[in-house]
C-alpha cells in the first residue's frame, strides 16, 4: 500500500495502482478516451493528464503512471496529484482542442450522439470556437463486417477496438495502419471481422466512429426506456440492458457483471433483437383440414381440451424448450403432473443430465469467475467459443495471464488460444483417468477445471461419459475442499432452471426420445421446443413465440412472450439465479407463457393454484428455496460427484460431436433475425473459402 494525496485528500492505495485508479479511489473522476479497465494501457489519448508533485514536472498521463513511480517529498511527504489545477485544466483543454481539430461536427447525425464520451467531455474541456482554419482530415469509411458500421472521420485513434479484438476477443482482425495523422483503423483489406464478440468494439468506441449497424439511425439514447435483463441466447446468462421505445425493442447492450459476463456479450445476444419483430406468433392458431387457421383463445383451448380428455394420461407429455424461464417450466410441470402424466423433459438434445444425481452433476460448479483461479483446464466435447462466447473470453483472459495448461477432447476447433489436443472421443478421456500425460498435469494442478460440454453428453452413452468425466475429476483432485472443478457447460438458457425444478421424466415417464418417437404421445405440449420433431400422429400444442419448426408441426399454436416480454427467473450454467425484467409487451394477442398455462389449466379442469406471477414465484421458491437467492450461484453439494464417479457404464468409441452447427442460428429468435442470417451466411462463405 502507498499513500498518495489526491486534490488534498490522502488515500492509501496499492502501490501498483495507476494514478487514474488512485484518483478514482479518492473519488475524483478522470476523463479518458483510450484507457479501459479491461484492456491494456495505451496512453495515447492524453485526456487523463494530471499534475504531479513527486514525478515529472509536466502534465502526466495518469492512466500510464503508477503510484509507485512517484517519489515522496523531501521530508517523506506522500506524492501529490492535482486534478483540478490550472495546469491540468489547460493541458486537458489543449488535448481536447487537438482531438476536435479533426473530429467532424456531425453530432446531430451521429448515432453516438447523447452517449458520446467526446461529446460529454467536450462539455467540460472543449472551447466554444475552433482556431483551426485548415481542412479537416478526411478518412474513408471501412467495411469491417455486417455488424459494426464505421464512420472513420470521427475516429480519435484511441485503439480500444484494436486492443479489444486482439486481447479479449482473441481474433486480431482490427489494426491501425499508417502513422501520425494518417493512422486509420481497419481490418486487413477490409474483410469482415471474424470474432463472435465484435459488437463490443462499438460499445468501447468512445466516439461515433464504430456504431452498431443494425441500430444505425434507429433511435436516440434519450428516447429509450432502459430495462435490466438477462440474455437467453446461451447458458451464460449475460447481464443485458434492453432498450425499448414504445413497444419496440430497439437494441440490447451488455451490463457490467464481473462474475458473469464482465462487460461483454456475444453478437448473437446483442443483435438478435430484430428477430423479435418478425415471424412472431401474435394470435392462436388451430389446424383445420391440414391448415393452421387463426382462432380465438377459447377455440384453441377447446381444441386442446377435447384432445387431452380423449387421451390417456400416459400419452400426454411436454417438452421444454431452450428459452423458457423457470416460472413457466414450473407451471408446465405442475400442469402435466395434475393431468396425471410423468412425461416431461427439458433436454431437447437428449443430454444425459439427471437432477436425481445431484445438482453438482449438472452445473458449472467452479463458477465463471472461478475460471480466473484455475491452473489447468480440460475441455471435453465442447467448443466454448461458440457455445458460450463470453465464457470463452474468460478462459482466454485466464490463459493470457500465463501458467494455464489447456487440453481438449473432442472436435478440433479454434478457441482463440492454444491447447493440447488430447483426442476425439471418450477413449482419450478414459486415458486421463489412468496414464495419460495430461492426467498428470491435472493431478499436479492446484485448481484443475474440467468443462464437460453438451457434445459429450447428448449421445447414447452420455450418462457413462458424464460418470467418466466425474471419475477423472475426482481422480485428479478437482473436487476438494474449497474447490469444485467439475463444470458442465450448457448451451440452453432454460436448461439448468428446468433441471432445478425437475422437469425430467418422473417414474415411468417418457424422455424426449420416447416422446418424439412414433406412437409415443397422443398430445404433446411444446414449450418453445423447436429443436425436436414430434413424429406424425401426435396432437401437438406449441406454446411459443416464433413461426419456427415447432409451430409448423403444431396442431394448436398458443402465442407466448419472448424473453424481453416477460419477467422471469433464469438459472445460468453455473446455477446462478438471475431475474429478467420485462422490457416490452408481447405482440397482438400473445400472452406471457405462465398466464397461458394457467388459463389452459382452467379449461382442462386442473386449475393451477396461482393467479399472478408473484404467487407463482412464491410457490416456486417455496418448493425450490435456492431459486430465491437472486444473483447467487448457490454451491451444489460436491458429494454427488463422488457418487457419480462410482457409477459405471460403458462408453463407445464415437468421437464427440459439436452441439452447435451454426452459432448464429441456434434458437427460434435468432433464426428469425435477418442480421443473424447475414452473419451466418458470411461465416459459411468464410468457411468455404478457407476450405479451398
Amino acid at each position: 500500500m502507498a499513500k498518495i494525496v489526491v486534490d488534498g485528500t490522502e488515500v492509501d492505495v496499492p502501490a501498483e495502482y495507476t494514478l487514474l485508479q488512485a484518483c478514482e479511489a479518492a473519488g475524483v473522476e478522470i476523463p479518458r478516451f483510450c484507457f479501459h479497465e479491461r484492456l491494456s494501457i495505451a496512453g495515447n489519448c492524453r485526456m487523463c493528464l494530471v499534475e504531479v508533485k513527486g514525478g515529472p514536472p509536466k502534465p502526466t498521463a495518469s492512466c500510464a503512471m503508477a503510484v509507485k513511480d512517484l517519489r515522496p517529498g523531501p521530508n517523506g511527504e506522500p506524492p501529490v496529484v492535482l486534478t483540478k489545477s490550472p495546469m491540468v485544466k489547460k493541458a486537458r483543454e489543449g488535448v481536447m482542442e487537438f482531438l476536435l481539430i479533426n473530429h467532424p461536427l456531425d453530432c446531430p447525425i451521429c448515432d453516438q450522439g447523447g452517449e458520446c464520451d467526446l461529446q460529454d467531455q467536450a462539455m467540460a474541456y472543449g472551447a466554444d470556437t475552433s482556431r483551426f482554419a485548415e481542412n479537416k482530415r478526411a478518412v474513408e469509411d471501412k467495411y469491417i463486417g455486417p455488424l459494426v458500421r464505421t464512420s472513420m472521420n470521427r475516429c480519435i485513434q484511441c485503439t480500444r477496438c484494436v486492443r479489444f479484438s486482439t486481447e479479449v476477443a482473441g481474433v486480431p482482425d482490427l489494426g491501425a495502419i499508417g502513422r501520425g495523422e494518417d493512422m486509420e483503423i481497419t481490418t486487413y483489406l477490409e474483410h469482415a471481422m471474424r470474432s463472435e464478440m465484435q459488437g463490443n468494439v462499438a460499445d468501447l468506441c468512445p466516439v461515433g466512429a464504430l456504431t452498431h449497424k443494425p441500430y444505425q439511425f434507429h433511435a436516440r439514447p434519450w428516447e429509450l426506456i432502459k430495462t435490466e435483463s438477462v440474455d437467453v441466447m446461451d447458458a451464460v446468462g449475460s447481464n443485458i440492458r434492453i432498450d425499448t421505445r414504445g413497444r419496440e425493442v430497439m437494441r440490447i447492450l451488455p451490463r457490467n457483471n464481473d462474475v458473469v459476463n464482465e462487460e461483454w456479450i456475444s453478437d448473437k445476444s446483442r443483435y438478435v433483437w430484430d428477430g423479435l419483430k418478425v415471424q412472431r406468433l401474435d394470435r392462436p392458431y388451430v389446424r383445420k383440414d391440414g391448415r393452421l387457421v387463426a382462432a380465438s383463445w377459447s377455440e384453441a383451448f377447446a381444441a386442446i381440451a377435447a384432445k387431452v380428455k380423449a387421451a390417456p394420461a400416459t400419452k400426454l407429455g411436454a417438452i421444454v424448450g431452450d428459452l423458457a424461464s423457470v416460472e413457466e417450466v414450473f407451471a408446465l410441470k405442475t400442469l402435466i403432473g395434475k393431468l396425471g402424466s410423468a412425461n416431461i423433459d427439458c433436454r431437447q438434445d437428449g443430454a444425459a443430465l439427471d437432477p436425481a444425481l445431484g445438482r453438482a452433476t449438472y452445473v458449472f460448479n467452479p463458477t465463471i469467475a472461478g475460471i480466473d483461479e484455475a491452473d489447468a483446464i480440460l475441455l471435453v466435447g465442447t467448443d466454448p467459443r461458440h457455445e458460450a462466447s463470453v465464457l470463452n473470453a474468460r478462459i482466454r483472459k485466464r490463459w493470457r495471464q500465463g501458467g494455464l495448461k489447456l487440453g481438449l477432447i473432442g472436435t478440433k476447433v479454434d478457441l482463440t488460444y492454444p491447447y493440447e489436443y488430447l483426442g476425439a472421443g471418450p477413449d482419450s478421456l478414459s486415458d486421463l483417468a489412468g496414464t495419460g500425460a495430461f492426467g498428470e498435469v491435472l493431478r499436479k494442478a492446484q485448481r484443475p477445471l474440467i468443462i464437460v460440454g453438451q457434445g459429450a453428453l447428448a449421445r447414447p452413452d452420455g450418462a457413462a461419459v458424464l460418470a467418466l468425466a466425474a471419475r477423472v475429476a475426482v481422480a485428479c483432485g478437482a473436487v476438494k475442499d474449497g474447490w469444485n472443478g467439475f463444470a458442465v457447460l450448457h448451451t440452453a438458457a432454460a436448461r439448468v432452471g428446468a433441471l432445478d425444478v425437475g422437469a425430467v421424466p418422473g417414474v415411468g415417464g417418457l424422455d424426449v426420445a420416447a416422446m418424439t418417437a412414433p406412437g409415443g404421445l397422443d398430445v404433446a405440449f411444446l414449450l418453445g421446443a423447436d429443436e425436436v420433431e414430434i413424429a406424425p400422429g401426435a396432437f401437438v400444442v406449441y406454446l411459443g413465440t416464433h413461426g419456427d419448426a415447432g409451430a409448423h408441426r403444431a396442431d394448436v399454436i398458443l402465442p407466448g412472450a419472448a424473453y424481453p416480454e416477460k419477467s422471469g427467473l433464469y438459472v445460468n450454467t453455473e446455477g446462478r439465479v438471475q431475474f429478467a425484467n420485462r422490457a416490452a409487451f408481447p405482440p397482438g394477442e400473445a400472452r406471457e407463457d405462465w398466464a397461458i398455462l394457467r388459463a389452459l389449466s382452467d379449461v382442462l379442469g386442473q386449475t393451477l393454484p396461482f393467479d399472478n406471477v408473484l404467487a407463482l414465484r412464491a410457490q416456486l421458491v417455496a418448493a425450490y428455496p435456492h431459486l430465491g437467492h437472486i444473483d447467487e450461484a448457490v454451491a451444489a453439494d460436491p458429494a454427488a460427484l463422488a457418487t457419480l464417479a462410482q457409477a459405471g457404464g460403458t462408453v463407445d468409441k464415437a468421437a464427440f460431436a459439436l452441439p452447435i452447427d451454426d452459432f448464429f442460428l441456434t434458437n427460434p429468435i435468432a433464426r428469425a433475425s435477418a442480421v443473424m442470417a447475414e452473419c451466418s451466411a458470411l461465416r459459411l462463405a468464410a468457411t468455404a473459402q478457407a476450405a479451398e
Binding site: 486480431p172 482482425d173 482490427l174 489494426g175 491501425a176 495502419i177 499508417g178 502513422r179 501520425g180 495523422e181 494518417d182 486509420e184 481497419t186 481490418t187 486487413y188 483489406l189
Partner: protein
Amino acid sequence: MSVRRLAAEQPESFDFTPELEAVAQKLIAKYPEGRQASAVVPLLWETQKAAGGWLPEPAIRAVAERLGMANIRVLEVATFYTMFNLEPVGKYFVQLCGTTPCMLRGAEAIRHVCERKIGHERHVSADGTFSWLEVECLGACTNAPMVQINDDYYEDLTPENFEKLLDDLAAGRPVKVGPQNTRQGSEPEGGARVLIDPALYAFKSNVPGFADAPATETPDLLAAGLPRAAAESPVDPTAALSAAQEKAADGADTREKREAVAAEATKPSGAGE
C-alpha cells in the same frame, strides 16, 4: 507524408525463394523461441529487396504467415515505415531530399530534373528504369542537395551533374557515389580552410615524463594530405589492431590492465590540480 495504401495492381502470389527463406531463418534465429514476430521489420526489408524494391500484398501475407502473425499486424508495420514501398519502384529508385537545407541549396531544380527525365512522382518510367519520390531529410545536409538512389547517396548535385548521373545510370556506365563535385566526403570544397594553424596540432603534454613531441612534423604531413592517424602513428595500424586483439583474447586480466592504464593516466593530472 500522406496516406499510404497498397498498390491497386498486385501480383497473384508471392513465394519465398530459397535465398529469402535462408535469410528469414537467420533473422528469426536471432530472437528467442516464440518471439519470431520481432523479425518483422528486417524480414519485410529483405522481402522488399527480393520482390524488386517494393512490397506486394501477397508478400505481406507471406511474411505474416512465415512469422505466425495476423496479416493486419504486418500491414500495420509495412504502412508505418516509409522505407517500405507499397507501390512498384523503378530499377533505380530515386529518393530526393526536399527538406529545408536541400531545398535552400536547390532541391527544387533537382526535382524539376526528376520530373523532366523520369516523369511524375511515384510513377515508374516507361522503361522501368527509374522512379522517384520526394522524401524528408536523409541526414546529408552538409552535402545538400542530395538524392538517395537505391542504397547509395549522391550528393552536391546540380541539375547538370544530376542529369548526367541519371543518364549514366540509364546507360549502365559506372557512376561515382557520394559528392558529385570535387569534395571529399563532407570536407569543405577545395580542402580545409579553418583549423589549419600548425600550432594547434603541436603536441604539448602536461603529463610529467612525456617529452613534448616536435611540433614541426605534423603540419607537413597534414599538408601532404595524409590521414591524421597515419600522421600521428607511423606504425602499421593493422599490426596494432591485431596486437590489441591478441591482448583481448589472452584472458580476463585485459580489463584490469585497461583500468590500470586509465588510473595511471588520470593520476598525474589529479596531482597537478
